[in-house]
């Protein structure tokens, strides 16, 4: 009959979050599963890390299942099992990725020193001590390649995707087929194609620009197909709303559809760059080579991080292999920072 007059301020709570106290039985079960798997490994002929993991997973899941069945019935138990299977799947995927990252960081950090960012290999050979030389020329080369390949393929891909989703012209079926087929082209074939079509028939020599061409070929199908998917997600009502305001189709697409799909299109570009950033094979025929910085993308050989890694490995000496690992680490960092900055600068602020 009265309004609850709370003089003390009420604080926001999240009662649906599992509290520490509720997690206690779970923690206990996990501990029990760890102990049980150790006991079983010790008592039976099973050996190795994998045995621990497998046993821990099986026993842990069984315990959880029993607990949820006891507490909340059969449906909840099925829920637990499904959750455990998904966890296992995620873990199986996560394991090699984590191992790869850790290996790269451990091995790559040996040669990861400040001076690699302002030295080239012009006066150093791969087998020299890690205190000399660097890979700034390869970083610059890779950035050049990514920029040029993106500059060529992005407009082509977006326009193709727009043709397929917005215009839906007569040639759509055929173009869709071509894009599909292109996405199956092995990278080395793209390299040989440019080599045969340009370097063998003209007197041009390998350069950054020529090296970017096969990369653009590889990028186009990835970006096109992703862009197509995200454009298809834009609700038709938006297009109709634009058209109903008297806009032409082109205006509607340019000012409404593409901005609405903006975040997805950025993802498309990111996936495209991810596709090409580590490509080595097509560069072997088309890039020429260089041990120092080459600022001219149209003449003279160039280097690139994958190419640098490949050279280091082929050198085979301890120094070469260490340099290759450092190259891998730098490539990872470079690609990651490109993606992060694409997300930060590309995604518009909500509100």
């Amino acid at each position: 009959m009265t309004i609850l007059s709370n003089s003390t301020p009420v604080t926001p709570q999240k009662p649906w979050k599992v509290s520490k106290k509720q997690q206690l039985p779970n923690l206990f079960l996990i501990a029990a599963a760890v102990v049980a798997s150790f006991v079983i490994v010790a008592a039976t002929p099973m050996k190795g890390k994998l045995a621990y993991l497998l046993l821990f997973f099986v026993i842990g899941t069984t315990f959880q299942l029993a607990l949820s069945w006891y507490k909340r019935g059969r449906a909840a138990a099925a829920d637990t099992v499904a959750g455990a299977v998904m966890m296992a799947g995620a873990f199986i995927v996560f394991l090699p990725v984590a191992s790869l990252l850790i290996t790269t960081i451990v091995k790559g950090s040996k040669g990861f020193r400040p001076h690699i960012f302002n030295h080239t290999m012009a006066a150093t050979s791969y087998s020299d001590p890690l205190t000399s030389g660097g890979l700034i020329h390869a970083i610059i080369g890779t950035l050049f390649l990514i920029v040029i390949a993106t500059a060529i393929s992005l407009p082509l891909s977006i326009l193709t995707a727009l043709y397929l989703t917005e215009i839906k012209g007569k040639a759509s079926g055929f173009i869709q087929f071509l894009v599909q087929a292109m996405s199956g082209v092995p990278s080395v074939v793209a390299g040989i194609f440019i080599y045969a079509a340009i370097l063998l028939t003209t007197n041009l020599r390998g350069s950054t620009f020529i090296g970017a061409l096969p990369l653009a070929i590889l990028m186009i199908p990835t970006v096109t197909r992703t862009a197509q998917e995200v454009l298809n997600l834009v609700p038709n009502e938006l297009r109709e709303a634009g058209l109903a305001l008297g806009a032409t189709q082109w205006k509607t697409v340019a000012t409404i559809v593409v901005p609405a799909a903006r975040n997805g299109l950025i993802t498309a570009v990111i996936l495209g760059v991810a596709r090409i950033a580590g490509e080595t094979a097509p560069l072997l025929f088309t890039l020429g080579t260089s041990d120092k910085i080459n600022w001219n993308p149209f003449s003279g050989g160039q280097n690139a991080l994958p190419y640098y890694i490949w050279s280091g490995l082929r050198d085979g000496t301890e120094g070469g292999i260490n340099r290759a690992w450092t190259g891998i680490l730098v490539l990872l960092i470079l690609v990651l920072s490109l993606f992060v900055s694409a997300r930060i600068f590309g995604s518009r602020k909500v509100k």
């Binding site: 009265t2 009420v10 926001p12 709570q13 009662p15 649906w16 509290s19 449906a75 909840a76």
Partner: protein, 300 residues
């Protein structure tokens, strides 16, 4: 009678009103007629729901402040108020849908059969099974037929109904007022139904799991007047076995279907419940000036 409606008083009020209230406006007369239809002798089935001191936040944004409402078993309560005053937010705290929004937080208690549904260790799926929800936009499952849609709750919640499926199907569709229209095409896909039929199908779907409380968030706002009337009929029928809480922007609808009306308002700050009372009183002689302004159409 301030913010809490006592369930013991409710039927007496209803009776008094139907006899003594002189109807001054058309709204209050509709409400009075409606209240007179509810038989005081019929002990309502279902369970009551009680919200105590509910606050809701989205991140730092305090969307709802200290709302306490008692929904007695077998009554229909309409929540009215201008857009953005927190009606949807409030109704979503009642069946724990609020927590699906990542930034969401809340305070207060919601008692179903006297037990707080937010209590640690509560099986939230069981709560939502007992407190059903009908959404603003009809949302039948597109991949299922009409019949499968009605029975989908049993499958999703992995429960068995004591009745056999055909009987349950007919019963739910009849109670939702859709049976005669679809009985010959139960195997057709739900997408082929009109908006009003789809919404009644969604009501039938929530009835199949036999909820004690049914929450409806503007269930008629996308429908034509004919479908709206059908659904209002349906609500009247359902109230005999369950507790219904309905958000509506349509004042006539509130007057027609509800026993109680609660008025929500946000004056720029968090939304608050300004006043609650028997529907005909709310429309004929509200206690708060703001309620009066709103129900007489002077703002909002």
């Amino acid at each position: 009678m301030m913010s809490t409606v006592n369930s013991n008083n409710e039927e007496n009020n209803g009776e008094d009103m139907s006899i003594t209230t002189p109807s001054t406006s058309s709204l209050s007369s509709v409400a009075a007629n409606h209240a007179s239809q509810r038989q005081p002798g019929n002990a309502p089935l279902g369970s009551g729901l009680e919200a105590r001191g509910i606050h809701a936040w989205f991140g730092k944004h305090h969307a709802l402040e200290n709302v306490s409402l008692d929904f007695a078993a077998g009554t229909v309560t309409a929540l009215i108020g201008p857009s953005g005053c927190g009606k949807s937010t409030f109704i979503r705290t009642l069946n724990r849908m609020h927590e699906f929004i990542p930034s969401a937080a809340m305070a207060g208690e919601v008692l179903l059969d006297g037990k707080d549904i937010y209590e640690a260790g509560t099986d939230v799926t069981k709560i939502r099974l007992q407190i059903g929800m009908v959404f603003q936009k009809p949302n039948p499952f597109p991949s299922m037929t009409i019949g499968q849609n009605v029975l989908s709750g049993l499958k999703l919640a992995q429960i068995k109904s004591p009745k056999n499926n055909d009987d349950l199907l007919e019963e739910c569709l009849t109670r939702a007022g859709l049976w005669t229209e679809v009985k010959d095409r139960l195997d057709a896909h739900a997408g082929g139904l009109s908006g009003g039929q789809q919404q009644r199908l969604c009501i039938a779907r929530s009835l199949a799991v036999n909820p004690k409380v049914l929450l409806m968030d503007e269930p008629c706002s996308a429908l034509d007047p004919g479908s709206t009337l059908r659904i209002e009929d349906t609500i009247g029928q359902l109230a005999q076995t369950m507790t219904i809480i309905i958000v509506t922007h349509n004042m006539q609808q509130a007057a027609r279907v509800s026993d109680y009306t609660a008025f929500f308002l946000s004056d720029g700050g968090p939304g608050q419940m300004i006043e609650v009372g028997p529907t005909n009183e709310m429309f004929s002689r509200p206690k708060d000036q703001r309620t009066e302004n709103y129900v007489s159409g002077r703002f909002g």
